[in-house]
């Protein structure tokens, strides 16, 4: 992502030059340049307006709201400085949500990356039925999170669910296990759902990256006598690094901000025991009508991700190029 910026922007300067011969010619040239400029700007107008109105303005307004007293209709009533932030920081439920968001993101992205890489490497080897498996892996990806979450809700039903049914059949549990009813099992189940929906797209993107690696590289390594596992660690992983870097970053952003799984299953409950920052914020804004405090949480989330992304990309792209 970052490396491409330099590559694409490389030729931005130049082409403006050649001193004018006469005032008239100069004027003509300036006119032409303005016309060319307007012509070029016309291509980006609609995109720029949409981004400005529906993405940038709301973000700026969120910043504005976070430092104001806000009524339940979302109207700012007066400057409050860091009042909203201080309210939120003193809420033990917020601290819990931050902690849970951290665990949630690290576990889900970690396991997803490992499993995704494993699946991608095996899908990159030639075997019969590979195309079929690759197509079937689109299923969790194309289903909306609502559908997959409800599917898992149904499967974790203590009486009729497939999960308990299976665990009873293999004698791991006797009787019923209420996954969503017990604080110790609800969040792990949600993390598993998040992993389960994230692995297929991650694997398919990594697979595309693997297919982009030149086979000659492997042949050269094979000549040197490098085999199997070492080949993977010494050749595949370094060559796949740009793709790995990007998938991890994108997954961190998506997973950290993930809302539907937890909201659909428990709305963050019981008693906030499954709240992460997104559900905590949503609850604050639309159930408790605490718009100012909710905006403060949104700003906090924004900066947390921004700081992470900056540090991460700096570390990840060090030594590259």
């Amino acid at each position: 992502m970052m490396a491409s910026t330099a590559a694409v922007t490389g030729g931005a300067a130049g082409e403006l030059g050649a001193p004018a011969a006469s005032p008239a010619a100069h004027q003509r040239r300036v006119g032409a340049r303005i016309r060319a400029g307007l012509n070029h700007i016309s291509f980006i107008t609609l995109a720029a307006i949409l981004c400005a109105v529906f993405l940038c303005y709301p973000v700026l307004d969120t910043f504005w709201l976070s430092v104001h007293n806000v009524n339940e209709f979302g109207q700012a009533q007066g400057f409050s400085g860091f009042g909203n932030f201080s309210t939120v920081l003193h809420d033990p439920a917020f601290t819990g949500a931050v902690l849970r968001s951290g665990i949630w993101t690290v576990v889900v992205v970690g396991v997803t990356t490992a499993l995704g890489l494993f699946v991608a490497v095996l899908l990159n080897q030639p075997w019969r039925g590979r195309a079929l498996v690759r197509s079937l892996l689109l299923l969790p990806w194309v289903s909306s999170l609502v559908v997959t979450t409800l599917l898992w809700q149904w499967m974790s039903d203590p009486d009729f669910g497939a999960l308990d049914h299976l665990l009873r059949d293999v004698q791991i549990i006797h009787g019923n296990l209420s996954w969503l009813g017990s604080a110790g099992y609800a969040l792990p189940l949600m993390m598993w759902i998040a992993i389960w929906v994230s692995v297929p797209p991650t694997a398919l993107i990594m697979l595309a990256g693997l297919q982009g690696i030149d086979r000659d590289v492997y042949e050269a390594a094979a000549m040197d006598g490098t085999r199997g596992y070492r080949l993977f660690v010494d050749m595949t992983l370094p060559l796949l690094r740009p793709v790995l870097t990007v998938t991890v970053l994108l997954n961190v952003i998506f997973v950290f901000n993930s809302f539907p799984i937890i909201w659909i299953l428990t709305e963050g409950g019981p008693l906030g025991s499954t709240n992460t920052l997104p559900t905590y914020m949503y609850n604050l804004a639309f159930e408790l009508n605490e718009m100012g405090a909710a905006a403060a949480v949104a700003v906090f989330m924004f900066f947390l991700l921004l700081i992470f992304s900056l540090i991460y990309t700096r570390l990840a792209w060090r030594n590259v190029r």
Binding site: M1, A3, T5, V8, E15, A36, G37, H40, S42, F43, I44, L46, A47, C51, V53, F54, L55, C56, P58, T62, L65, G74, F118, V119, L122, Q125, P126, V133, S135, L138, L139, W141, V142, S143, S144, V146, V147, L150, L151, Q153, W154, M155, D157, F160, L204, I205, L207, G209, Q211, R215, R227, G228, L231, P242, V246, N257, I264, A294, A295, A298
Partner: protein, 287 residues
């Protein structure tokens, strides 16, 4: 490369035989775990009303109740939800196309002042996630009188996916030979004509890939739909299916039948462009 060399190279890459068996078995399990829930979904979708409530639960229903697929349409306004999702996802994709195609062309092929700024702007907006801008976006929708209209979702969904579609299309347009543009410019053809006559036809694969992403993001969008639309007649499939759950007794067999049907359009589209799907994303992300 000869066939023999290919086989031996694969052998080298895969490693020793016992190791291979273990990895194959592990892989098989992972695939089963990833796909088994959909088997459960399909089996539940064809379980009859009485059979679904009988304990102990059966894996395979004794009778296949195909009627669930039609009953789901009468139990909830499923047809309405399908129509709404089509309008919302279709509308936001069209909006996205009109905004993203010219913008990507400009980024890839035109040299203008403010180009770098626009590029940074696009990268920065890519970092913005729906949950962060939700509160202020809700306010904005109230001001624009778009709450409980298709427009709220068309504009938000179409805008949220703009950075990624512009990104994918820019990567694709950058790969089109410069001579085509130069020749047309020498003939005195304007930039818009060049875009419409040459770059759009040549860039169709990249454009379609990007727009599929836009469509699927909108089709599966939940957060905005939940917040901006409470009127059941405007509701898309996602919040429509979710509303199933709010009712006293969940008819899980109907719910699974409806869910299965909701996946079909997106799956067909994805299968159609499967080859380019991930490649397009990787190109957009790292090229």
């Amino acid at each position: 490369m000869s066939r023999a060399a290919e086989v031996s190279l694969d052998h080298v890459v895969r490693g020793s035989k016992p190791g291979r068996v273990v990895t194959r078995l592990a892989f098989g399990w992972v695939v089963v775990i990833l796909l088994a829930p959909f088997v459960v979904m399909a089996l539940t979708a064809v379980t009859g009303n009485r059979a679904i409530a009988v304990l102990p639960a059966r894996w395979i229903p004794k009778q296949v109740a195909w009627s669930n697929f039609t009953s789901a349409f009468t139990a909830v306004p499923l047809a309405r939800y399908f129509l709404n999702s089509t309008i919302i996802a279709g509308g936001s994709t069209v909006l996205n196309a009109f905004a993203a195609v010219p913008a990507a062309f400009a980024l890839a092929r035109l040299r203008f002042r403010g180009r770098r700024a626009f590029l940074l702007f696009i990268i920065a907006t890519q970092m913005i996630s729906p949950i962060v801008l939700l509160i202020a976006a809700f306010k904005l929708m109230v001001v624009l009188h778009m709450i409980n209209t298709y427009w709220a979702l068309i504009f938000m969904d179409g805008s949220v996916s703009l950075p990624i579609t512009i990104w994918i299309m820019t990567a694709y347009f950058s790969g089109i030979p410069q001579e085509i543009q130069d020749a047309a410019t020498l003939d005195g053809i304007g930039n818009w004509r060049i875009l419409v006559d040459h770059f759009i036809p040549l860039g169709i694969p990249g454009i379609v890939t990007a727009l599929v992403f836009s469509f699927v993001i909108a089709w599966n969008e939940f957060l905005f739909a939940l917040t901006f639309v409470t009127n059941p007649t405007i509701r898309p499939l996602t919040t429509g299916i979710y509303a199933f759950v709010g009712e006293a007794e969940i008819q899980w067999n109907y719910l699974m039948a409806a869910s299965l049907l909701s996946i079909v359009p997106v799956l067909l589209i994805f299968l159609g462009i499967q080859k380019r799907l991930a490649a397009g994303l990787v190109a957009g992300a790292v090229k």
